[in-house]
């Protein structure tokens, strides 16, 4: 499977040797996702050096976490990856529950899977739309947001908020599902299924999109693991790791009994539980196209998971169970737990000294490590490739800067 690039697409001999130019893209640049500043040293069109500057959205959530109880910090986890707030809440709640060795009710577990996977679809939709925007086409962005609005309506019915939900808390959920919500959710899924093909036609198999993303920003599996990249970025390079199957026992317990295939290319082909478009000829494993394609597969995978969780949730008898008290006393000690969020593995590290207020709170962000690899990928590429590469990493600044 080793493909040494013969036509060195990224090294273009330019006749006119212009002098080195220090150029910076952002922080208010339309293409970078949020306030990210990229300083490029360019020589004509070729980027010889790229350095991301972060910290523009740093709100020191960790310092604040040292003065709040576990449940009071939930809204801060919302604002980290604001496109997938439910996953953030779940990650933090599970970490605290792991420390307390607390088991939520069966019903709450299935409801959490349902809500979290729905939020994953919404996050991937934004990722897909924004990536189309990076490559210059505006329409997919609007199609993606049209579908995302429907998901946000569903979330609004559940917890009243559309972006920062604070719905999943330590010990369960703040409220149960309103009546008729499951039917509306299923209706959404049914009408969403055929639309996925539209997105494939619009972007994945679009000749110009393939030309702009294939062979660009190729990330080898060793480098991905070495830099700590996780999630679709890791799976886009062919590394078969998904915490929903390989994570800690408390997290994989939620997904026990769910049938799902990890969206990764194993010996040459992706899982075939649905008919997906073929991989274009000149796309190499680990390039921007594969990262994008893995996200599109995960959207379909999440839809299957949601359908299974709806059946399981409706079969569960028993109450949903109340979340823990606001000022729950935390035993002394420390615990670290990573969950599979849409952007990658989001880790929460909790250190307590016996009172109800944690001593130290640390959030390990997936986009933080994913972005760390971008200077390596952008060396030697063209200026037009930089947003393509950074866009394919699907970074969210709220999560990186915390």
């Amino acid at each position: 499977m080793s493909q040494i690039l013969d036509d060195d697409q990224r090294i273009i001999e330019f006749d006119v040797r212009t002098d080195e130019m220090l150029v910076n893209m952002g922080p208010q640049h339309p293409s970078t996702h949020g306030v990210l500043r990229l300083v490029l040293r360019t020589d004509g069109e070729i980027v010889s050096e790229m350095e991301p500057h972060i910290g523009y959205l740093h709100r020191c959530a960790e310092k604040i976490g040292e003065n709040l109880t576990a449940r009071q910090w939930i809204p801060y986890t919302d604002r980290m990856d604001y496109l997938a707030a439910m996953n953030m809440n779940l990650g933090w709640s599970l970490a605290v529950e792991k420390l307390l060795r607390y088991q939520v009710s069966e019903k709450a577990k299935h409801l959490r899977v349902l809500i979290v996977e729905l939020n994953r679809i919404a996050s991937h939709l934004v990722g897909m739309g924004a990536y189309g925007l990076d490559l210059g086409t505006f329409s997919p962005f609007l199609y993606a947001f049209r579908e995302r609005e429907k998901i946000l309506d569903l979330f609004e019915e559940v917890c009243g908020a559309r972006l920062t939900y604070s719905y999943i808390t330590v010990g369960g959920m703040t409220a149960d599902l309103p009546p008729g919500w499951l039917q509306r959710c299923e209706a959404f899924l049914d009408q969403f299924e055929p639309i996925i093909q539209e997105y494939h036609a619009l972007l994945t198999t679009n000749a110009i999109f393939v030309k702009r993303t294939a062979k660009i920003g190729v990330l080898s599996p060793e480098m991905a693991i070495d830099y700590g990249c996780t999630g679709p970025v890791l799976r886009g390079s062919g590394v078969d790791i998904d915490l929903r199957r390989d994570g800690e026992s408390i997290y994989t317990a939620m997904y026990d009994g769910y049938a799902f295939e990890v969206a990764v290319m194993k010996n040459g082909h992706y899982p075939r539980d649905h008919e997906y478009p073929a991989v274009p000829r000149d796309a190499i494993l680990g390039d921007c196209w594969h990262r994008f394609f893995v996200r599109m597969l995960e959207v379909v995978q999440s839809m299957d998971l949601i359908r299974q969780s709806i059946d399981r949730y409706s079969q569960c008898k028993g109450a949903l169970g109340e979340p823990l008290k606001l000022a729950e006393k935390l035993p002394a000690g420390d615990t670290y737990l990573e969950t599979e969020c849409p952007k990658g593995q989001m880790g929460f590290y909790l250190v307590t000294d016996g009172t109800s207020i944690p001593w130290r709170v640390r959030a390990r962000s997936s986009s933080f490590s994913n972005l760390a690899v971008s200077p390596e990928l952008c060396r030697g590429c063209l200026i037009a490739d930089v947003p393509a590469i950074v866009g394919s990493l699907d970074v969210v600044m709220g999560e990186i800067d915390r």
Partner: protein
């Protein structure tokens, strides 16, 4: 037209001529400026339709048709900023250079048989040459705004437009070869009669070259997949980042003007210009087929035909813009040098051979069968009534010449 004014209204000669000159100048300028306004509105509506939304609906009546007026007023009201590092003269001059270049080409563009600003014998060549000038405005704008990003945009645009002139030139040569003259009016007139006379259906090669022409036209006007110059995602807004208010609108008008120009050129060169698909006027016996002697009213129909075709071309460009992502600068160059130019050259060769062996074209049925390759090439429509100035008309001359040289 002028005679019509002089006999019927009895205006003195000079007044009549000045009125005609004024009228045609106003006509051309307004047709294009008006066209640009309509296209601005159309672009918003089409983009909205493609993206499953409504687009402007409230400004002025039901379909928001006053949106362009609203834009115009907004642009007028906006302050014309100028970055301090900018080179004042060039910064102010750039939009007008680009604007004039794009509108100046309309002098030679015929709307109906003889309704053209100035009937140039080298019409096509003149239009393509002037199209090349528009890049100056962009380069000056890029350099004068003293910002790295606009410089990048200007450099990309210059590289793109200059390199796309080559295949564009080659595609334009094919209809010139078929019609035997560079004069747009002759080219248009050659395609009168049924739609099968249109050059696009002349033979398979011209069909392909029509599509190559469209690609190059879109690229040379910086639209859709080739709009590197103002690639928002990388260069913010390319060369006109620093422009605002009226100056920016001049760039905008120049873009829409050249878009209309390029699609009108496509209509004339390949799609039979002002001739409708069915020669209604001949069938009804209104005119004897030779459009030189058509009554004036038919020319209005001719203008309408050309506008419809040109607008269809513009709408196609808009449609492409809102569906396809953008190409990278080296991919744009590769398409030009490795795809458009070779294909255009091959098709040019193909048409030449076709013309040599099958002079009648794919469908030989056109009742005005062109005489032969030589006559076709040499048959000039300037058979002067007063032949005295010329010792012998070129037609007889040409036939004789080739007998001798064979």
């Amino acid at each position: 037209m002028a005679e019509f004014l002089i006999e019927t209204i009895g205006l003195p000669i000079w007044l009549a001529w000045t009125c005609i000159a004024g009228l045609s100048a106003v006509l051309i300028l307004n047709v294009i400026a008006g066209g640009a306004l309509v296209f601005i509105w159309a672009e918003r509506k089409i983009a909205a339709r493609i993206q499953d939304r409504l687009g402007p609906t409230r400004t002025g009546g039901r379909f928001g048709w006053l949106q362009s007026l609203a834009d115009g007023i907004k642009l007028l009201a906006k302050e014309d900023l100028m970055p301090d590092g900018a080179d004042a003269l060039l910064f102010r001059l750039a939009p007008y250079v680009s604007f004039c270049a794009s509108f100046c080409a309309f002098i030679a563009l015929p709307f109906a048989f003889d309704t053209v600003g100035q009937r140039l014998n080298v019409g096509v060549f003149f239009v393509v040459a002037v199209l090349g000038l528009e890049v100056f405005g962009v380069i000056l704008a890029g350099y004068a705004s003293a910002s790295k990003w606009s410089l990048f945009g200007a450099m990309r645009e210059a590289a793109q437009v200059v390199s796309y002139e080559v295949p564009l030139g080659m595609c334009v040569v094919v209809p010139v070869m078929l019609a035997g003259s560079m004069d747009l009016v002759t080219i248009g007139e050659k395609q009168a009669g049924w739609a099968t006379n249109w050059f696009i259906f002349h033979d398979p090669f011209t069909f392909i070259i029509f599509w190559v022409y469209c690609t190059c036209a879109i690229a040379s006007v910086n639209r859709a997949p080739f709009d590197l110059a103002e690639a928002e995602s990388e260069l913010v807004a390319g060369f006109h980042t620093e422009y605002s208010g009226l100056r920016w609108s001049f760039f905008f008008m120049a873009e829409y003007g050249s878009m209309f120009l390029v699609s009108a050129l496509a209509a004339i060169l390949f799609l039979g210009g002002w001739n409708g698909p069915i020669p209604v006027s001949e069938l009804l016996g209104l005119s004897d087929g030779v459009s030189a002697t058509d009554p004036f009213a038919l020319r209005i129909v001719g203008c309408m035909n050309l506008f419809l075709k040109a607008t269809a071309g513009v709408l196609l460009m808009m449609w492409i813009r809102w569906t396809l992502p953008r190409l990278r600068i080296d991919q744009v160059m590769t398409t030009c040098l490795k795809y458009c130019t070779p294909i255009a050259a091959a098709m040019f060769l193909g048409v030449m051979l076709w013309q040599l062996f099958l002079p009648g074209g794919l469908v030989a049925g056109s009742f005005r069968a062109a005489a032969g390759v030589r006559e076709g090439w040499l048959e000039q429509s300037y058979r002067k009534e007063s032949a005295d100035e010329e010792s012998l008309s070129v037609k007889t001359l040409s036939r004789h010449v080739f007998e001798v040289s064979r």
